[in-house]
């Protein structure tokens, strides 16, 4: 009888612990919200300032043009808060809400991402006028959903869907990568730079690599480029395994590289750790280059100073401008390429680490825009 009670007691204790943990979470969330809100607000304003000089002029009047327009967004795996791709899209959406006054609805997929299409349909049924599918994985889903909801405007990032009510928003990542490649090649002291890809065999990441290598060779034909992928398809862990990202980066720094660029999603966190660790241990500073969003602003403060620049893939611009165009002009379709020319891709200057070479980078940028140089995409 006594052991029975003891058993029961143990179980209750466990429940209690669970409740405590849950409660602790609730509280923790609230506390931190207040303190960090200010800082995020700051970062958003800085980014908008930097990039929207040309486009913002039309949208500052008091009655916002987008009132009553509903915008839906279906994120890819990772969702808001991934400090990368999805967050960039979220930033665009936030800006559209702030500047255009649209209503936003956001959905995130499950960990496996099987419910992409359902999320799209849900948003369509919910009466959204414009629906974004964030990521190439939405291609089939958007094609199917768009056919069933002809009156709804869809937009897909990173892929092409041929339908009258789908806008295909693709990026010239290779062009952006070429610029950070050039930055890396200009900044290197050791004449060795590195590239870390998340998952090999998808084709997507190889595009980043090709541009990076091209840009580097443009400014420094002798530069040695180390390339490492973390996993091979179908092991997607390479986008989510910072531990492996760090080891790959350490190996590159050790092999003499002093600037390393990553296109490895969440594994990139490991690169920044490695940059910090190597710099501190060896006494000579090594650099990391971020990807997708301005990672200088998204990583923890301790590693910020090692982020030379980031290849910006302006998903936020794509999201915002597509929304804006819809608000102003109605239905959008066709392929919209976000390249250097339209500032769809680019590089960040936060931290001021590349102020000394921006002239050269701008020169290269203009050459690419003018078509004088064509960046290979594979």
């Amino acid at each position: 009888m006594r052991s029975e009670l003891k058993r029961r007691g143990r179980f209750l204790a466990l429940l209690f612990v669970f409740a405590l943990v849950a409660a602790a979470c609730g509280n923790g969330g609230d506390e931190t919200t207040a303190t960090t809100e200010a800082s995020t607000a700051e970062t958003t304003t800085t980014t908008t300032e930097a990039s929207t000089a040309e486009t913002t002029t039309t949208t500052t009047e008091a009655p916002k043009p987008g009132e009553g327009v509903k915008v839906g967004m279906a994120y890819d795996i990772g969702g808001r808060g991934d400090k990368s791709f999805n967050d960039s899209a979220a930033a665009g959406l936030d800006r559209a809400v702030a500047e255009l006054g649209v209503d936003a609805t956001e959905l995130e997929p499950t960990a496996g991402g099987e419910d992409r299409e359902e999320n799209l349909r849900l948003l369509a049924e919910d009466g959204n006028d414009v629906i974004f599918g964030i990521g190439f994985a939405f291609a089939d889903s958007i094609a199917a959903a768009a056919a069933d909801f002809p009156d709804t405007n869809f937009a897909i990032i990173d892929s092409v869907v041929d339908a009258p009510n789908v806008a295909s928003l693709v990026f010239a990542e290779h062009e952006g990568s070429a610029l950070v490649g050039a930055a890396a090649a200009l900044k290197t002291q050791t004449n060795t730079i590195g590239f870390i890809g998340g998952v090999a065999g998808l084709g997507l990441i190889e595009k980043f690599q090709a541009g990076y290598e091209f840009g580097a060779k443009q400014v420094n034909p002798d530069v040695e480029i180390l390339v490492q992928y973390l996993t091979e398809f179908p092991d997607f862990a390479g986008f989510n395994d910072p531990a492996k990202g760090k080891e790959a980066a350490l190996a590159m720094y050790e092999a003499g590289a002093d600037v390393v660029y990553h296109a490895a999603g969440g594994s990139g966190a490991g690169l920044f750790e490695a940059a910090k660790e190597t710099s501190e241990n060896t006494g000579s500073k090594v650099w990391a280059i971020g990807v997708d969003s301005d990672q200088y602003n998204t990583v923890g403060e301790e590693v910020r100073e090692y982020i030379l620049t980031s290849m910006l893939k302006r998903v936020d611009v794509a999201v915002f401008s597509t929304t804006e165009n819809f608000v102003l002009h109605g239905q959008q379709s066709g392929i919209v390429v976000f390249n250097l020319e339209v500032d769809g891709v680019g590089y960040s200057t936060s931290g001021g680490f590349i102020d000394d070479i921006t002239d050269q980078l701008e020169e290269l940028r203009l050459k690419i825009i003018s078509g004088e140089l064509e960046v290979p995409s594979e």
Partner: protein
């Protein structure tokens, strides 16, 4: 007959956790190093024994090793723990949360607690309620993944600098250290490029240079575990619960309590492995960052024949092959390594008059050699799969020699005779 076949892999395993056969294994280890330098010489790479490779191997080994060590405590007490992955996930989450709030050492402590919590759930289910141990472990994995995601979405809001799948960066770092003198001395020696000597020095340098204090802590747990399990009353009683709980019961050992200890510690260690990923390597929590290391740890433990030193070797195989794969132009040499390894194994079989086995091993050795000779590259997938294949092979060759705790997985209830 077949039972007489012994293998290098099996040779690496401690039969009992006693140190008595240490000399034999040291000999094997040196032989292995020699093969490594030989392969390196022939293949013309430097990575196989580079300090960096071994440093990386060490860091990649530790989380797997901690999970394996966790498995050891549980299975030695007679409870199969397939929930290691889930406990590790809990460790990453709790580690990151506390690391973010209070710094890295708190991260370690909370990772440990988070894992232990799920260990406790496993213990309640399997020990108190006598639920099938594998079933409970599977459920733990589902539960841990789900509740950590829930906690993330509740706690790591965008405002904190995290999200549903990612935590904010933890505060600060855990320091590293170089083993005084030894590190530099070995480092210098390894730069000389002397065959074998520099190679050994390189390995040594890799493992003594810039070692995280957490790594040291984890490594200390290996001999500490050995001491705890084989040299204390508590350890003896824990093992007796996994070997023959009925005998233990008859001698007044509180079997159920020992099992609780084993399983909870198991969770704590797996959680610690998770917090290592966060605190030492990533600086953040990211959903899915354990990437199956809990399962791998389980494999490493069985590979290591349920002994602390054996599981270190098992985890090391995974860590080392990962390290090689993450470093340039070293992967191709693995083919040669496999060829030579199989050749030696074949010779050993020949010596043991196992002609059939020897012939098969010889043929495979030749195939690998031809492959190595005629190509310049190996598909990455094959390298990824190598440690799993090796584990499976070792189990195939040596499973009869593996010494499972006799009552591992057995439902035990007090007072029910065998």
């Amino acid at each position: 007959m077949t039972a007489k076949i012994t293998s290098l892999g099996a040779g690496l395993m401690e039969r009992t956790g006693r140190m008595s056969s240490a000399r034999k294994y040291a000999l094997l280890f040196i032989l292995g190093l020699f093969v490594l330098s030989l392969v390196q010489l022939i293949a013309g790479t430097k990575q196989l024994t580079a300090p960096g490779t071994w440093g990386a191997a060490l860091r990649l080994t530790v989380p797997i090793m901690l999970a394996a060590l966790g498995g050891l405590y549980s299975e030695r007490s007679g409870v199969i723990n397939i929930g290691l992955e889930g406990m590790m996930i809990a460790g990453t989450w709790f580690g990151a949360w506390a690391g973010w709030q209070y710094g890295p050492w708190a991260g370690i402590a909370f990772g440990l607690i988070g894992g232990a919590l799920f260990g406790l759930i496993h213990a309640i289910a399997t020990v108190t309620f006598a639920v099938d141990q594998i079933v409970s472990g599977v459920a733990i994995n589902i539960l841990a993944a789900g509740s950590m995601r829930f906690l993330s979405s509740a706690l790591y809001t965008a405002d904190t600098g995290g999200g549903a799948t990612q935590s904010p960066r933890i505060q600060g770092f855990i320091g590293t250290f170089n083993v005084p003198l030894v590190s530099e001395w070995l480092g210098a020696l390894s730069d000389r490029g002397w065959f074998f000597i520099s190679d050994v020095a390189g390995i040594g340098a890799g493992m003594t240079t810039r070692v995280s204090w957490f790594t040291l802590l984890a490594l200390v747990l290996i001999p500490a575990t050995w001491w705890l399990l084989w040299r204390t009353v508590w350890g003896l009683r824990l093992r007796s619960a996994g070997e023959n709980p009925w005998a233990a019961e008859s001698l007044g050992v509180p079997v159920l309590r020992m099992k609780y200890w084993g399983v909870v510690i198991s969770g704590a260690l797996a959680g610690m492995g998770g917090s290592y990923l966060v605190v030492v390597q990533a600086g953040i929590y990211r959903e899915g960052m354990t990437a199956g290391r809990g399962f791998i740890g389980l494999g490493a433990m069985i590979f290591g024949n349920y002994s602390p030193f054996g599981l270190l070797a098992g985890s090391g195989i995974f860590g080392y092959s990962d390290a090689l794969r993450l470093r340039q132009d070293s992967v191709h040499a693995i083919l040669l390594l496999l060829a030579i390894g199989l050749m030696m194994f074949g010779t050993y079989s020949l010596f043991k008059r196992n002609y059939q086995g020897s012939a098969t091993q010889g043929v495979f050795a030749m195939l690998f050699f031809i492959w190595w000779f005629t190509t310049d590259d190996v598909p990455g997938q094959i390298v990824t799969a190598t440690p799993y294949i090796v584990t499976l092979l070792v189990l195939t060759i040596a499973s009869q020699r593996l010494r499972f705790p006799a009552a591992d997985g057995v439902k035990y209830r007090r007072g029910e005779a065998h």
